[in-house]
């Protein structure tokens, strides 16, 4: 009796959890399904769950609505450049904050933390004016250089560096290794998990970013994919859902694929960043 009760409870639990899962996954399936439907199918009632014939042409139509190759290239260049610059700037800074003692260290590190608290939504107007002033508003730079110092990354990496025993650094100094060699050969290889976390984090947030490029891009030639897709509603008409969803699939699929293959690392990265 209790055993039967236990199994019923267990099955019920599985069913409920599956239902929850559906709530979170269905919208993406719905997006994919719509992207393959005909215009008529999107209008039908009850809604079409599966298109009769997959309309691959929708993708072609969505992609011809604007210079999507350029958008894609812009997104890739901006995201990769941000990650590369951030790592170059972050590693020596975190190393100095973790392993050196120098006057003003606490104050300067406090400024890093302060910067972490001030969002781009507050600073975007002055930064935009600065970019216009410097005459680089029509390049990709305004989407890249404001993110050169990743305050959160510096904080996280410094924590990680601090856990590396002092003696290892000292042993390297006795082995006549210069400071940059110590960073390259010892600190960086030893903190790969933290660096991967930070890079992954940067990748997800900048590939997906909408607000900052919206502010910083006046010209079509420098727009990233997120803006291009969001504009489909204007260029293709707000009721052409099959085309809009086709564009959306193009935007989502790369990140979903990355997530599908390294969900474990991504989940770990996010949890790690949240708990520290």
């Amino acid at each position: 009796m209790t055993k039967a009760f236990h199994y019923t409870g267990l099955t019920l639990g599985y069913l409920l959890k599956t239902a929850i899962l559906i709530v979170f996954v269905f919208p993406f399936l719905w997006m994919i399904s719509t992207s393959l439907q005909t215009y008529r199918e999107t209008l039908s009632y009850p809604p079409t769950l599966m298109p009769a014939v997959p309309q691959w042409i929708n993708f072609a139509q969505a992609m011809s609505a604007g210079p999507f190759l350029t958008y894609f290239k812009n997104s890739a260049v901006v995201t990769l450049a941000i990650i590369a610059i951030q790592l170059l700037v972050m590693i020596p800074a975190a190393y100095a904050f973790a392993k050196y003692r120098f006057p003003g260290k606490n104050l300067l590190f406090g400024l890093v933390l302060l910067a972490f608290m001030i969002p781009g939504q507050v600073t975007f107007i002055p930064v935009y004016l600065m970019m216009a002033d410097w005459g680089i508003a029509k390049t990709l730079l305004p989407q890249i250089i404001p993110f050169m110092s990743n305050a959160f990354g510096i904080f996280l990496l410094r924590q990680y560096f601090m856990q590396i025993p002092e003696e290892i650094v000292e042993a390297a100094r006795l082995d006549n290794a210069g400071e940059f060699r110590i960073m390259r050969k010892i600190m960086v290889p030893m903190s790969m998990p933290a660096l991967a976390t930070i890079a992954l984090f940067s990748f997800v947030s900048h590939w997906n970013d909408y607000f900052w490029p919206l502010i910083m891009t006046d010209a079509e030639s420098i727009r990233p994919l997120t803006l291009g897709i969001a504009m489909l509603r204007e260029t293709e008409g707000i009721s052409n859902w099959h085309i809009i969803m086709a564009g959306n699939v193009v935007l989502v699929i790369p990140i979903l694929l990355v997530y599908l293959f390294c969900s474990k690392q991504i989940v770990k990265a996010f949890v790690y960043s949240g708990i520290k």
Partner: protein, 350 residues
């Protein structure tokens, strides 16, 4: 090969002075052990030689040359750390050759050196392994190999054996002594363990609270401790110390210097007491004797007495030590020595 000299060296951490005006010469080619309780400044001295925590004032000379302005990696010293500080992301081979690469040693020469050192420390089969796959003893050898391969003129070791289990520690002790003999280089070894110091050193430097208490070879350190601190730090159980009664003078004798008997002997020191505890350790037995003059530890190779038994503790004249009010040793040639011996005889009770 090199001698090391500290000239009026002081060191402060956050304005707190740990070492003040210290002078010390470490002889070329000797195995010198810096020993003392934790916080006595022995590791600080070692790190000054390495240049990891440079002195606040004074100078450190290696082979007669002031190295104050020379970076750690260019002083010709190698160091073995307590936790070995092995680079965990590098293979054993990369660990050993890291210093060579930094010193721009050619590839062929490097390989030859690594191979021969690897063989010398018994790591030939492990050169391409990651340190995480090695045992504690093997990691210790990697740390040693990494130090040896640079052919340093000074070997610095900071409690290198304290992370090993007791058996391996004894074995490594012997290996280090042999290594020193083979290389003939200056070894400076820091430990808090007086047994390690006694067994390995050519010369012991005993420190307490930043001050050198005594520098001497192990036997001198043991037989003629220059002050009460040394007398009680070296040897287990430590030297028995008692009040002579007048002028703050203290007498002392080592546990194994005392004789136990059922009848009173004619030694200058002879008191009656009761055996409070008895520890039978196999080759020797340690008694704790309670007497009116205090508690004494007595170590005997024969095992003749039981706890609760009444005994006489006797110590021969040449086995007795006296320490003045300033805690310094009172030498036999000093005039007062005879008087103290007599005073002690007068206090003997039966």
């Amino acid at each position: 090969m090199a001698s090391i000299e500290f000239v009026r060296v002081s060191k402060a951490f956050d304005k707190q002075e740990v070492i003040k005006d210290l002078n010390l010469t470490i002889e070329d080619g000797k195995f010198t052990v810096l020993v003392g309780p934790s916080g006595c400044g022995k590791t600080t001295l070692l790190r000054m030689i390495a240049g990891l925590d440079p002195q606040t004032s004074g100078s450190v000379l290696i082979d007669g040359k002031d190295v104050t302005r020379i970076a750690p990696g260019k002083r010709g010293v190698a160091m073995v750390f307590q936790n070995y500080a092995i680079y965990p992301t590098m293979s054993v081979r990369e660990n050993i050759e890291f210093g060579l690469v930094n010193n721009k040693v050619g590839k062929a020469e490097r390989e030859e050196l690594v191979e021969s050192i690897g063989k010398a420390v018994g790591l030939s089969d492990y050169l391409d392994r990651k340190p995480s796959t090695l045992s504690g003893g093997q990691r210790q050898r990697v740390a040693l190999a990494r130090a040896m391969v640079k052919k340093p003129s000074v070997f610095l070791m900071d409690e290198p054996l304290s992370n090993l289990d007791a058996k391996l520690r004894v074995q490594m002790r012997i290996e280090l002594i042999e290594l020193h003999k083979k290389l003939g280089t200056t070894f400076v070894y820091v430990t808090h363990d007086q047994v390690e110091a006694m067994s390995m050193a050519d010369k012991i430097v005993l420190m307490n609270k930043g001050v050198i208490q005594q520098e001497a070879p192990p036997d001198t350190m043991y037989r003629r401790p220059s002050n009460r601190f040394t007398a009680q730090f070296i040897g287990t159980p430590p030297m028995n110390i008692g009040e002579l009664g007048a002028g703050g003078i203290k007498y002392g004798f080592r546990p194994e210097s005392a004789v136990l008997s059922e009848v009173q002997g004619d030694e200058p020191f002879s008191v009656r007491g009761v055996i409070a505890t008895r520890e039978m350790l196999g080759s020797e037995t340690i008694y704790q004797v309670r007497s009116d003059s205090g508690n004494f530890m007595v170590k005997r190779s024969e095992d003749l007495f039981a706890a609760g038994q009444e005994v006489f503790v006797g110590v021969a004249a040449e086995k007795l030590h006296f320490f003045g009010e300033d805690e310094r040793r009172i030498e036999e040639k000093q005039g007062a020595y005879r008087d103290y011996l007599e005073a002690l005889r007068g206090r003997s009770h039966g």
